[in-house]
Amino acid sequence: MSASASFPSQSPLPEPEAEAPAALDVAGAATSSPDVVLDVRGLKTYFYTYDGVVRALDGVNLKIRRGETLGLVGETGCGKSVTAFSITRLIPDPPGRIMEGRVLLRGSDLLWGLDKEARFKEVGKTGRYKIRRSYRRIQEAQRRMMAVRGSLISTIFQEPMLALNPVFRVWDQIGESLTLHRLPPTIDAMLAASTAAPELPEAVDRLVDAALHKDLPRIRAVSKEIGQLTGLPSLATEMFYAVRNPNLVGTEAIGREVQRCLRRVPLSGLQRSYLQRRRRIAELDQTLRRIYMTEMKEGKPDRRGRGFARARRRAVELGSLGYRLPGIRRHVKRPLDSELFWQAVGLLESVSIASPAQVASSYPHELSGGMLQRVMIAMALASDPEILIADEPTTALDVTIQAQILELMRALKSRVGTAILLITHDLGVIAEVADRVSVMYAGRMIETAPVRELFANPLHPYTQGLLASIPRVDDPNKKLESIPGSVPNLISPPPGCRFHPRCPHAMPICKEQVPPTTVEAPSHTVACFLYHGVEDRN
């Protein structure tokens, strides 16, 4: 394949006239309303390949408000997943590069410093570009993103089997997420927990009694009470599953189980000092993240703060060397591990897994796809993120399992209140879960509307075609309309509106100009020349 002949002579750099980026005003962060959790503006992501520059994203705008679920629909290759990966800066670089745009997460620009990371130089007039990257700056940006990924933005991927590590047990992987994002409070609880509460023996008696009668609600209530008395919530989960075992008969056996659970609360001196050091390291780590977040918010580097924190972290790491002796390490790690295990069990319980303790100690290959997707959701929610990006979460699952996962997501939505960016190609899933929908086509956002409005009154010809092409299980007589042609090649996309070669209403202007995004109805925006609404200035 000779690629050089057909190179378009377009610049790979975003043309300056294309949609003046609203992001350039300094007060940009302040103008967006406080409810907006994530605000993506003018995002452009290109891939530099041997065949040419793939303009995968070409000015994507989206906004997600608190507690809202935004559905992102489009066909394969339209840039849905690239959007998700660009938001978390997980685009493989090279070949990909985020060219420009702003990703404002509660006012912090995750793409801050982008323009200094790479320089582009055209090689002759070939259309090929030489990119000189500053790896120091890219590394710095990646370090900053560590403060965001997993803790502020969590992602659920399409293939749960590929997203989990096959050689670690499930609890270990959920525990890792907890260690990274929730360690200081966990250790605080462990250090403060005690079995000295005067009401404790009486509560233990009641628990044994409830277990004797196999009274599940009462076991649950009393073990929760013990968890509060000792100050260690995960103990409640542990006790519940310990005494619930149907093979456990007789007061003595149950009593022994309860005492075994309680025995993990008091810590030895060595264990305490280990935990305290772990906590200090974790705390420094979080200080560092806070500094990074402030940097991204204010848009200027904080040299003093970072150097300070780095030095502190290094000192503590060196100080903990003494615990790396194998025997001591095992001894001191044990209480933390069992705490993480039972927290993981609690999380798995919250995603309605029937036997969480068993699932927590399995390896990923022992679980089915639906179960793994629940594990992924539990892991994503472990850090209580601002935004959950769900990238085709149910595509690999069967319909009955998909229904279970959608049911779970709906329940979590109302309980946790996390904003969700739901990426899917299935309009049925969108209709069931999303509050607002954005339709993407060939790297551009073409229509955004509340879900009911979009299905009742689709404006863009592509959205109309998409809705007409789905077979409906509740409407057999519907004639399936198909959109002629296929998705354009993004190396040399059609000029003007990228949909015009397939559009039944194409006009001469569509071939020449990029249609502006206009507001047609309250919160219904569309990018099409058929409509003459007020131009959306974000």
Partner: protein, 395 residues
């Protein structure tokens, strides 16, 4: 069972008691330790020019059924009768009914009347595809074709499109060279591809275009039966609609019969005349499409229908979310295989396996569920165990 009426098109395929077990080997000497009951005694008919939809979750044996029906995999037992005559077909139904009665009264197949078995054997020798010799099978393959699920792995990357589509014609030595080339040209236009694409290689095409090539290849020999194994599940909706429309048009033009395998019920509703719902290797319900979708009887079918997301946020409907997952086909549950997840499970479901029987209201609607039929106790069941006291609950 409905006989071959005058207005109905003739029977093209009659699948009877088809079974396919895959052995599971393990242990010290990798001995035979069990079987995957992939397909466990299924029966259905395909009429000329009609579409039978085969629906179920992954792992229920849909794809295995499609392959066994084409004899791409040898079955463990059972028959697929190809173009049985009307008399043969009626006789077959009679014989299988006799066998069924004998099996239920006698407990095992050994006591089945020898005469019935002998006659069945005679019909099978005449028209079962599993009794065909290699050479006979080869001619038959021209009449029975398949379109595979994955358009990316089912086309050879080293052949041009022309070679791919022409290959079946060459194997079967159909026509002269010029005629073959003409046929390839015609096929390309009929699946909506440009004849100039003939000289390209598969990697230059998108998924939808490749699936069109797969369809052209399957239709090259003018078959009368095509297995469509999830032909659109790898495609986008807008392209899916294109492919479905092509398939429908070709069916009318060439009087093709399809076995449309899919997990996507809405696609099946748009395509099929009859629907067979499978669960863990068995047929749980079989009915004409409209009947099945308007009055699903089996709890599994009801749950399956309720769990499809409807692309319309204004539609509010009852939600049945099944708990748990599909059990392992190595050790399927006793009694009704669906009882572990069934919302309407009764004690009898755990012990007695339901049979596929016509529903009392609609004779063409077959369902295998104790909710609709009084369970027949196996003869060796201990009497007085209380099983007979369970009334068949009306839904």
């Amino acid at each position: 069972m409905a006989t071959n009426g005058g207005d109905e098109p003739p029977i093209l395929l009659a699948v009877r008691n088809l079974r396919k077990y895959f052995p599971v080997r393990g242990g010290l000497l990798s001995t035979h330790i069990g079987d995957v009951h992939a397909v466990d005694g299924i029966s259905f008919d395909v009429r000329a020019g009609r579409t039978v939809g085969l629906v179920g979750e992954s792992g229920c044996g849909k794809t295995t059924t499609g392959r066994v029906v084409l004899r791409l995999i040898e079955p463990s037992s059972g028959h697929v009768f190809y173009r049985p005559s009307a008399e043969q077909f009626d006789r077959l139904n009679q014989l299988y009914a006799d066998l069924d009665v004998a099996a239920r009264s006698g407990g095992n197949g050994a006591s089945a009347p020898a005469g019935v078995l002998r006659e069945l054997d005679q019909i099978a020798t005449k028209s079962s595809i599993f009794r065909k010799r290699r050479s006979q099978m080869r001619t038959l393959r021209g009449k029975m074709q398949i379109v595979f699920q994955d358009p990316f792995s089912s086309l050879s990357p080293r052949l041009t499109i022309r070679e791919i589509v022409r290959e079946p014609l060459e194997i079967h030595k159909a026509g002269t060279r010029a005629e073959r080339n003409q046929r390839v040209q015609d096929l390309m236009t009929s699946v909506g591809l440009n004849p100039e694409h003939l000289w390209r290689f598969p990697h230059e095409f998108s998924g939808g275009q490749r699936q069109r090539i797969g369809i052209a290849r399957a239709l090259a020999l003018r078959p009368d039966f095509v297995v469509l194994d999830e032909p659109t599940s790898a495609l986008d909706v807008s392209v899916q609609a294109q492919i479905l429309n092509i398939l429908k048009r070709l069916q009318q033009e060439e009087n093709l019969a399809y076995l449309f395998i899919s997990h996507h019920l809405s696609v099946v509703r748009a395509m099929a005349h009859d629907v067979v719902v499978m669960y863990l290797g068995q047929v749980v319900e079989r009915a004409p499409t409209e009947e099945l979708f308007t009055r699903p009887l089996h709890p599994y079918t009801q749950a399956l229908l309720a769990s499809i997301p409807i692309p319309d946020p204004t539609v509010k409907r009852e939600r049945i979310v099944l708990s748990g997952e599909v059990p392992s086909p190595v050790a399927p549950p006793s009694g009704c295989r669906f009882h572990t997840r069934c919302p309407a499970v009764m004690p009898v479901c755990r012990r007695v396996e339901p049979r596929l029987q016509p529903s009392p209201q609609h004779p063409g609607h077959f369902v295998s569920c104790h909710l609709y039929h009084t369970p027949d106790e196996p003869a060796d069941a201990p009497l007085g165990s209380g099983a007979l006291a369970v009334p068949p609950a009306a839904s």
